[in-house]
Structure formats: structure tokens, C-alpha cells
């Protein structure tokens, strides 16, 4: 909402208030400001000139040689390319060495051999925004109204062009503020100064409206009031400079006197108005009714619209003439020759207008105002105000009376407001009298009974429906700055969710191992699972899909974190970062599994990714194993995993505890690597947070430090390549019994001295008895058992120590 401050002063005298103070106090009372600026500021040295002679340039068809009176002894000769300058035109002129607001300096010179000593200005050259330039001057020179300024006067001063404008951000609950009087009402409450409404008086009324028109509302649910007035002897002309100036500052383009007056009153009262050429209305009737399904109608913008039975239409006796509250019809448009007009001031239903506007994809100033809500009680006033201005500008003769169809008057919603309740919610301590005063400043009527107020708001305040709405009024007018600063009573013990506790722990452990945390989008491209070769029938392909994604690459919710991790690794690799170790802890979304509420299941996964440096399968396994151990998940089982196509079939493992698979990790397969710009060796793990959360055991029980010495024995053996170290270690443990404290693989060797297809492995075993010092004899039995089993179970040949 653009508020030209000088115009505002017509309704409330704020002339002694600095702009900054005005803005500040409006903001602090709830009228937020986008910006405050000057229109047509910085115009200096532009003078008022009058064309005394206009001739064609002898050598150029499109140029004119103008003699301009700029108050000097002799007229100044200026050549212009514009065709709208005539003898007698009053024009803003920039002379030799003058400067335009954009800093351009004008020098005298020759145009096709003819001397030109300055420039005639167009509105845009003077800094007028394109969207408010009157159509007549869009392509040409700005022809000014003769307001009695002398030739040679400073244009800016004589025409008072510079204006302060404040752009307010009006929240959707306050459509009453979308007009000058609404903003004046707010200012009146804030600055505690009286509000002056325009005095509406029509000097001369002739004839009777009944001789011209009759109005019928067939759908009072969609049109609560329709006021029609008639004006005859219309003389279409430009509106006066003062009105044009205000409209332009208010963001509206001046067109002609009639259009400008309806727009002016709309900006003033917030009520959209429409004018029909009454000659085009057949049968002397206005009928407000919905259109027929499929009915076609051509609007003012010359577009043919297909309507249906939800679109409200203004009809005459035989045809549609306007799309109610949205746009007039081309068939009833006012032209320069129009003699008599009908002024419509109506109130159309917000939802109905919204539906029509949305359906047709046609949003106008009028439709957006009706959508937000227009006060039906203002229709007559607005129509009268239009008539008054038409008379005042000499644009026509007002016909007496108005047709006013108003089936059910809009009544204010009266609310009981308790002083104590208001104070209790705000934590302040105002008296009933204080609050009454606040409400009355906002033009509400208040009846007091003890500490209960019965408040009647102006009908334009659609936001005041219940007690809490009045609490807000007190809060904002009293001023948030004046509220005390307190803290809620009571002491509370704060806790994180158990999930978050473990999440934080996981992050800490992974960062402790040198991994950086990443965060990536929850929505991804469905192609990600193709790139990592997920099975066609996998649940990971059953996506939660967006109806309206921004693009294919953010169109489905992720079911695995791996594609995002590979994208991040690729981005870093592309940027020449030689080594990356990273993790993400984030949600995946499984459409295949629904919650009780029917929503997709959201699970958290941990994804680890690395490349470069010394990283290999065992580095990654070390990270996975350490992480799980640190979370109290020990004695893990690692099983070779050959079926996950994402991974190298010989370098992938599943990690599990008992029967629960925690996750999969390994080297990314070369087929997957080929689809990315990545180094040949990339290592990725994806672990299931929920399972980790379930298994996680952070309870610590102290174990006594051993008092008796241990005995260490090493075993070196040769087995076939495919025998897994994990299986050997598990067997040793099982056979070793209670005295075997620890078994550890410390060397694997292939090469000279070991046959092809075989490998040599060395395990170190530690025996200990918690209660006494062991002797060699005591461990001989279990150790021999182990050696025997190694031979039998794994066909191992023992290498002598």
C-alpha cells in the first residue's frame, strides 16, 4: 500500500511530524513498512517552457523544430523527435548544461544541421516509473496542465512534483488499511489526532436515476450490495494535475478524468468502482447473476473468457456486461464519445471473487480487493464521492438519486472484552478506562459494565471477531515497547529426545575420527538409484514423489543417502580436493512402509564416504567398527556381501550384531564410479540408525584390572586364499575356552615362500586366569585343541615358530 504523505495530510494533520518519526510509530503500532522513498526527487534546473512555434525539420521527417518560451527575452530553439508537441503545449524543458535526474548532462548541439539548445522531457526522463506514465506520454513528451506557472519557473517547484511516499506492508487480516482513509485511521489512533473524512456534497443534481436504470441481485450470497448512480453530459478529458500527481504517487496510471476519479476514490476508500457506458446497457436493467456454464465473455482486455455457473456476472436485460468484481466487459466500455455513465459501487463475496479470478487466471486490483474484503456499508458513500468529484472537475452532470439494492445490511460483530483477560494474556496492568480509550481511538464504540467492555467495531474491521482480536488491538496501540520483560514462572528439566542424544554422540565420534559432517537435500533425483545400480524391485525405488517439484533433480524423497554422498564427493573431487572423509546423518523416506497415520516411514541413516590419501577398505571398516564399538556395540560380525551392485563384489561387507544387520560398506563398484567424475577408489558405508539406536549400550560396568600375568602364544599358519580370517578367529575363540582372553590377527602374507592360492596368517593368542598365575602346562591342552581344529577345520598347515 503506497501512501503519499502529503495526500494523507488531507485527512489527518501530520505536517509537524518528521517522516522518520511517522514511519517508526506506524511500524511499532503494526503497520510495517517496506520502504519510504521520494517520487520525482532530485529534479533540479528543469524549467517550465511553452511551445510558441512548432515546425517540421526540413531534412528529417520525424524531427520537429520548436521555439520554446522559457521566460528569456527570446524563445529557445529545441529540436525534438516527439510528435505530440503543439503550439501552446507546456513542457518540462532542460536547457544547455542542464542535468537530468539520472545525471545525464544536456549540451547544445545540432540535429541534422539544425541547432538545438536543450531538450524537451518525457516523464521517464524525469524519473517517473513506467507503470504510472499516462498513456498519452508513454512515447512522447510530457505535456503539462496549465496551472498558471510562468515560463522559466523551476518545474519541480511550480508543479510540486517531489513527494514522500511510504510503502506499507499490509498483512492479509487488515484489508481496511488498503486505502488512504484506512491508513489515516491508524495514524489517528497512533498520533491521537482527529480524522477528517471528505465532506461529500453534490451541488447540482438533475433528473432521476429511476429513469435510467433498475438493479436486481439474483445472488445475494455473492453480491451483498449494489449501488448504481448515473452521470450524464460526460466530457472525457485528462484529470487535473493534482489528481494525476496523487494517483501516480499511489502507483496508479492516470488515464482520463472518469477512470481517474474511480481509481482515486478506490485509493481513498478502498472500494473498487466501475463505470459503464449506459448506452450499451439494454433494457435499462442491471441483473447480478452467475453465468451459464460455457458462456463466453470478452473482457476489457479484449480476451475471450469461458465462464461457468460459479462466475458472477453483471448483466443487462439481454447480455453480460461485466465480470463482477474482476473486470468490465469490452461491450460496455467507456469511450471518448460516451455521454452518460453508470457508476457501480458494489460489494462482491471474497470467496466467489477469488474462485472466478483463479479460474480465469485474471487477477486485477478490484478482484484482489474484493478477495480480501470490502465494506458493503461504504458503497453508497463511494458512489456519491465519485459523483461529487465528477461534478467538481466539470466532467459531467450528476443524476439525482441512487439505486441501492442492499438485501441484508452488514452489521458489526459485537464482542465482550474482559479487562482482566487482556491484562492476563499480555502481562500488563491497564485499567478498563485505558482500554476503552484505545478502542475509541480506533473508531470502536465501547459500553462498559464493570470490567467487561462491549465493543462494536467499524464494519470495515473484518479482523475483529473475538476477544483475542481485541487483546491484539490493546497490545499494539499500547505498544510492545511498553510491555514488561519477564520470564515464565516455574522450573523445568530440559531433555533432548533419546534419538537426538545418540545422533549427537554418533556425530561426535565420527568427527573425532576426522570425518566432516555434510548436509544434503532430502529430495533427490529418481535417477540416483539408477546410478548406484539399485535392484529394479528394491523398496528403495518406491519413492515418496512430489506433485510439484522445482525440477527432476529434487522430485522424490530420498530412500538412501548414497547418491547424495557420491554427488558431494564428486563435487569436491572436481574442485581438486585430493582427500575427503565425510559423513551425513539424515532421514530417508520409505513409501513402501506406512505409519499408523498413513504417512511414509521416515528413518535415519548414517552415510560415510571417503576417497584419497591412504583410504582403503580397511580404513573404512576401521571407522565403522570403531564407531559401533564406541557406542557399546561390540563383537560384530562382518560378512562378505557380493550382491550389492553398488559395491565391488569382492570388497563389500555387511556388518551385523547377532541377527541384526546394521549396514553395508565397501568399495564403490567400477560400474558406479564410471557414472561419476570420481577417483577409481571410493569407499562408502550406509548404516541404519534405528538398529544402532536399539543396540547402543552406553552403560559401563567396571571390570577389575588383571592381577595375574598372562601367557602369550603366536600361531602362524598357511591356508587357502578363500579362508576368512574372521572365521579362524571365531573358531580359535570358541575352542580356546575360558582361559583364552584375546585372539588377534597380526599379519597376513602372500608371496615368496607361500604357494600360489594360499596365504600365511599369524595370530597372537593371550591366555590368562583371573585367579592365579597360569603355567605353560595348563594352557597346553587348549592350545593343542586349537591347533588340531585349525588343521581339521581349515586344512591349515602350521608354520613352525
Amino acid at each position: 500500500m503506497l501512501v503519499p504523505v502529503k495526500w494523507l495530510n488531507e485527512y489527518i494533520d501530520l505536517s509537524d511530524i518528521e517522516l522518520a518519526e511517522y514511519c517508526d510509530r506506524m511500524i511499532m503500532s503494526g503497520s510495517n513498512i517496506e520502504e519510504a522513498y521520494k517520487v520525482m526527487g532530485g529534479i533540479n534546473g528543469i524549467v517550465v517552457g511553452k511551445a510558441v512555434k512548432v515546425e517540421k525539420h526540413p531534412d528529417a521527417d520525424k524531427l520537429h523544430i520548436c521555439q520554446i518560451d522559457v521566460g528569456q527575452d527570446e524563445p529557445v530553439q529545441i529540436v525534438t523527435g516527439a510528435s505530440n508537441v503543439h503550439e501552446g503545449s507546456i513542457i518540462p524543458v532542460v536547457l544547455h548544461n542542464g542535468v537530468l535526474p539520472d545525471g545525464r548532462k544536456i549540451k547544445k548541439g545540432k540535429l541534422r544541421g539544425v541547432e538545438s539548445n536543450g531538450m524537451l522531457c518525457s516523464p521517464s526522463e524525469l524519473g517517473v516509473e513506467d507503470k504510472v506514465i499516462p498513456p498519452a506520454f508513454r512515447e512522447g513528451i510530457w505535456i503539462l496542465e496549465d496551472i498558471g506557472a510562468k515560463c522559466g519557473d523551476e518545474f519541480a517547484k511550480a508543479y510540486e512534483v517531489e513527494q514522500d511516499v511510504v510503502d506499507f506492508e499490509i498483512t492479509p487480516n487488515r484489508p481496511d488499511c488498503l486505502c488512504m482513509l484506512g491508513m489515516a485511521r491508524e495514524a489517528s489512533a497512533v498520533f491521537e489526532r482527529p480524522l477528517k473524512y471528505p465532506e461529500i456534497k453534490i451541488e447540482n443534481e438533475v433528473d432521476d436515476v429511476k429513469n435510467y436504470i433498475d438493479v436486481e441481485i439474483k445472488r445475494p450470497d455473492l453480491c451483498s450490495r449494489y449501488v448504481a448512480r448515473v452521470v450524464k453530459d460526460i466530457k472525457i478529458a485528462p484529470s487535473p494535475w493534482w489528481m494525476q500527481k496523487r494517483l501516480m504517487a499511489g502507483g496508479v496510471r492516470p488515464i482520463n478524468n472518469i477512470v481517474d476519479i474511480t481509481n482515486y476514490v478506490m485509493l481513498e476508500y478502498g472500494t473498487p468502482l466501475h463505470a459503464f457506458n449506459i448506452k450499451t446497457l439494454e433494457g435499462g436493467k442491471i441483473i447480478v447473476d452467475v453465468a451459464k456454464d460455457g458462456q463466453k465473455f470478452i473482457t476489457l482486455d479484449e480476451a475471450e473468457r469461458k465462464l461457468d455457473s460459479e462466475c458472477l456476472l453483471i448483466n443487462d436485460a439481454v447480455k453480460g456486461v461485466a465480470l463482477a468484481g474482476v473486470m468490465g466487459g469490452l461491450n460496455s466500455e467507456i469511450t471518448d464519445n460516451t455521454e452518460t455513465i453508470l457508476i457501480e459501487a458494489a460489494c462482491f463475496d471474497p470467496d466467489g471473487t477469488r474462485k472466478t479470478s483463479k479460474k480465469l487466471g485474471l487477477r486485477t486490483e478490484a478482484s484482489s480487493r474484493f478477495e480480501k474484503g470490502v465494506d458493503a456499508n461504504l458503497c453508497r458513500t463511494a458512489a456519491d464521492r465519485v459523483c461529487q468529484l465528477i461534478e467538481m472537475l466539470g466532467a459531467g452532470t450528476v443524476v439525482k438519486g441512487a439505486v441501492d439494492v442492499y438485501p441484508e445490511e452488514s452489521k458489526p460483530i459485537v464482542t465482550k472484552v474482559r479487562t482482566k483477560r487482556v491484562n492476563d494474556i499480555l502481562g500488563i496492568n491497564l485499567s478498563t478506562g485505558d482500554m476503552k480509550e484505545i478502542f475509541e481511538k480506533l473508531e470502536m464504540k465501547v459500553a462498559v459494565d464493570g470490567d467487561v467492555m462491549t465493543v462494536t467495531p467499524p464494519t470495515i474491521r473484518f479482523d475483529l471477531l473475538e476477544e483475542i482480536d481485541y487483546v491484539e488491538e490493546v497490545a499494539r496501540i499500547y505498544g510492545y515497547d511498553n510491555h514488561p520483560v519477564t520470564l515464565p514462572a516455574g522450573s523445568d528439566i530440559a531433555a533432548k529426545t533419546a534419538d537426538r542424544e545418540i545422533e549427537d554422540l554418533i556425530k561426535e565420534k565420527l568427527m573425532g575420527m576426522g570425518l566432516n559432517e555434510i548436509q544434503t537435500y532430502s529430495f533427490v533425483s529418481p535417477k540416483g538409484v539408477d546410478k548406484i545400480l539399485i535392484d529394479q524391485n528394491s523398496y528403495k525405488r518406491d519413492f515418496v514423489t512430489l506433485i510439484n517439484p522445482l525440477g527432476e533433480d529434487t522430485s522424490v524423497m530420498r530412500t538412501t543417502l548414497i547418491p547424495n554422498m557420491l554427488d558431494v564427493l564428486e563435487r569436491n573431487y572436481t574442485r581438486n580436493i585430493v582427500k575427503v572423509e565425510a559423513f551425513e546423518l539424515g532421514r530417508i523416506f520409505l513409501n513402501a512402509f506406512k505409519t499408523e497415520e498413513g504417512l511414509p516411514t521416515e528413518k535415519k541413516n548414517i552415510c560415510i564416504g571417503m576417497y584419497g590419501g591412504n583410504c582403503d577398505f580397511y580404513q573404512l571398516k576401521g571407522v565403522v567398527n570403531t564407531l559401533l564399538n564406541e557406542l557399546g556395540i561390540k563383537e560384530l560380525t562382518y560378512t562378505a556381501e557380493k550382491n550389492e551392485k553398488t559395491f565391488h563384489p569382492g570388497r563389500c561387507a555387511a556388518v551385523s550384531k547377532d541377527d541384526k544387520v546394521i549396514g553395508t560398506f565397501g568399495e564403490i563398484s567400477s560400474e558406479v564410479i564410471d557414472q561419476y567424475n570420481l577417483p577409481a577408489r571410493v569407499y562408502v558405508a550406509e548404516l541404519n540408525f534405528e538398529i544402532i539406536y536399539d543396540l547402543c549400550d552406553m552403560e559401563i560396568l567396571y571390570k577389575p584390572i588383571p592381577k595375574f600375568p598372562s601367557i602369550e602364544r603366536d600361531i602362524a599358519l598357511v591356508v587357502r586364499d578363500e579362508v576368512e580370517a574372521g572365521k579362524i578367529a571365531a573358531m580359535i575363540k570358541r575352542v580356546g575356552g575360558s582361559l583364552l582372553e584375546k585372539v588377534e590377527l597380526f599379519d597376513v602374507y602372500k608371496g615368496k615362500q607361500v604357494k600360489d592360492g594360499f596365504k600365511s596368517m599369524a595370530f597372537s593368542l593371550r591366555y590368562r586366569d583371573a585367579n592365579k598365575t597360569l603355567t605353560d602346562e595348563e594352557i597346553e591342552k587348549p592350545h593343542q585343541e586349537i591347533l588340531k581344529s585349525l588343521k581339521e577345520d581349515f586344512d591349515a598347515s602350521l608354520r613352525e615358530e
Partner: protein, 342 residues
């Protein structure tokens, strides 16, 4: 014999003075004092002396031995310290050469910011609550008093899910507040950090995915002044004790009265700079008293209980705090970016 002893003493003195290392000194000790040493030899031949001479020569011999021992000890001491010096010199390191790095990972700035905000609110007694990111229209809009025709419900603003009626990606973390109101006993004091989604094309200041931290307090006698005090305490902890807050009236469907909350610029202290665009204030939060319609969703007696709620964008806080000028940096995950947040 006495002369012989004196000569030995002089020889020893000379040898010792010429010896530099511990080994040479040890050799001298053996030469003179060892079992086959010169002095020992003399002492052995003392048997041939007269009864009168023996004590005299013995005394002299003992004195010579003592002197030599003393000289050797002193020389050894000296050699030891000289050698020590040599060793120290040989082993001296350039302490300015960098140490062997133990690399720690860095936390993502979004996590850093959420953790910081969470820590502050937990210190004020707020617990942390969570909820789903794929939500229903009921939790995301209806229960939050959003008008049926509110533009934020449009397909141009909110992502909706295919083949599922009234399911969307939450546009705020407020659904968690409704879930809490419905499931938890009063009083309630929670914050809900998490991801949110809106149909914004990515540019320097917009991201279709972002994070919020919202807060909710519901109890007996909770006032707008409590809201003011809580937010004031929060921003003072987050941005420093000098930070001031300013509440401006605003409108949100979920709260009434509502406010937008500005903090005095923590970069310039309110004088005006590029961070606060010259105004001295930075908008950081939306807040207000929970609308009775919202409390009623949870069957809460609005005559007895009241509450306040607030919310802030995590990206915005992080970008202001670290002077990050492009939100997209947060989701590129360039390691050179992330490693700055340790």
C-alpha cells in the same frame, strides 16, 4: 719413594688435564689406581720400607691417591657435562616446525547453529521435540489456524505428495507443536529444530529446503511479557549481552497478538552497517501468543491456560553470524567450506 709418589701425582695431574672424554679419564684411572696401576704398584712395594718410613710414605701415598681420585672425579664430572652439552646440541629440534596433525572432523554449520540454539533453550528449561518431515495438511495448516484460502497452501508455495491425499512436505516445524499439544501433558516447554520445505527456487537467499527452530510454551499464566523476556534472554546469549530486542506487531494465523522480532545488529552494535543494511536492527524471529483456536485443537482450556510460540530460520542465523553471503554454500558441502566450522 716419596719422590716417586710425587712424580706419579704430577703425571696423573698432567694426564688428567689432557684427557677430554670419559673413556680417556677411565683409562687414566685404571693406569694409576687400578689393580695393576702405577700407584698400586708403589703401594705393593711398600713392604720393603723400614718401620719408620712406612707410615710416612703410607700417609703420602694415601694423600696422592686421594688427590688423584679427586682430580679424576672432577674431570669425570666435567667430561660428563661437556658430553651432555654435546648431546643436547646434537638433539636440538626446530620447535617451529609444525607438529604432526591429529585431524578432527568439522560439524556442518547448520548443525553448529542448531546445537548452539538448542543449548541456550535447554538451559532455559526447553526440551527438544521431533516430528515427521512428510506431514499432513491437518498438522501443517488446519490445526495451525491457517485460513482455508491462505496462499501458503497453494501448489506454488507448498510441495504436495503424489497419490496421497492431503500429504505435504512440512513448510514449518510448527506441526511438531500440534503433535506435542496433542500428546503431552501441560505445562509444555519445547523447541523443535528441523528441516522444512517451500517452493522457492534456489538463489543467494532462498533454498527450497531449510531449517527452523520453533518454540512453544503452554501453561498457566503465560504472558506476552514472558515471551518478550524469553526471547530477550535468548538473543543475549546467542549474540552477546549487549544485544537488544524490539518486537514489532505483525500477523500470523497461528498466534495473536503476533510480533516480528528484531535484534540490535551484533556486528555494528546498532550504528548501521552492511549486515543490518544501515538500520541497526536485524529481523530474526517471528513470535506471538498461541491463538486460542490452536490450543483448542489440543482440547486445552483456553480460559485457564495460555501460551507463546516463536520461530526462526537456522540458515538466516548461521548466515548472519558467519557472514555467509550465499545460502547455496550450505548445501554444496565443499570441504574447504565445512572445515571452517570447527
Amino acid at each position: 719413594m716419596q719422590n716417586q709418589l710425587k712424580e706419579i701425582l704430577e703425571n696423573a695431574r698432567k694426564s688428567i688435564s689432557e684427557a677430554a672424554t670419559k673413556e680417556e679419564i677411565e683409562k687414566i684411572r685404571v693406569d694409576f689406581l687400578g689393580k695393576k696401576g702405577q700407584l698400586t704398584g708403589i703401594l705393593k712395594s711398600m713392604g720393603g720400607l723400614s718401620k719408620e718410613e712406612r707410615p710416612v710414605v703410607g700417609k703420602v701415598a694415601n694423600e696422592v691417591r686421594a688427590s688423584i681420585e679427586e682430580m679424576i672425579a672432577a674431570a669425570q664430572e666435567k667430561a660428563k657435562s661437556a658430553e651432555g652439552e654435546l648431546r643436547v646440541k646434537a638433539e636440538t629440534l626446530d620447535v617451529t616446525v609444525p607438529g604432526v596433525a591429529r585431524k578432527l572432523g568439522a560439524k556442518h554449520p547448520i548443525s553448529v547453529t542448531i546445537d548452539e540454539i538448542t543449548k541456550i533453550f535447554m538451559s532455559m528449561g526447553f526440551s527438544v521435540a521431533d516430528g515427521p518431515e512428510v506431514e499432513t495438511v491437518f498438522y501443517n495448516f488446519d490445526a495451525l489456524n491457517a485460513p482455508q484460502n491462505h496462499p501458503s497452501r497453494d501448489l506454488t508455495d507448498t510441495f504436495y505428495i503424489k497419490d496421497q491425499e492431503n500429504v505435504l512436505l512440512r513448510t514449518q516445524t510448527s506441526p511438531v507443536q500440534i503433535r506435542t499439544i496433542l500428546s503431552q501433558d501441560l505445562p509444555i516447554k519445547i523447541i523443535s529444530p528441523g528441516r522444512c520445505f517451500r517452493c522457492d527456487t534456489p538463489d543467494a537467499t532462498h533454498s527450497p529446503m531449510f531449517h527452523q527452530v520453533e518454540g512453544l510454551v503452554v501453561g498457566e499464566g503465560i504472558t506476552m511479557s514472558d515471551l518478550k523476556g524469553t526471547l530477550d534472554a535468548f538473543v543475549k546469549k546467542l549474540f552477546g549481552p549487549e544485544t537488544k530486542t524490539k518486537l514489532r506487531p505483525h500477523h500470523f494465523p497461528f498466534t495473536e497478538p503476533s510480533a516480528e522480532v528484531d535484534v540490535s545488529c551484533f556486528k555494528c552494535g546498532g550504528k548501521g552497517c552492511s549486515v543490518c543494511k544501515g538500520s541497526g536492527w536485524i529481523e530474526i524471529l517471528g513470535a506471538g501468543m498461541v491463538h486460542p483456536n490452536v490450543l483448542k485443537v489440543g482440547g486445552i482450556d483456553t480460559e485457564k491456560y495460555s501460551g507463546f510460540a516463536f520461530g526462526m530460520g537456522v540458515e538466516r542465523v548461521a548466515m548472519l553470524k558467519y557472514e555467509i553471503d550465499d545460502i547455496r554454500l550450505l548445501y554444496e558441502n565443499d570441504m574447504r567450506f565445512i572445515e571452517q566450522f570447527k
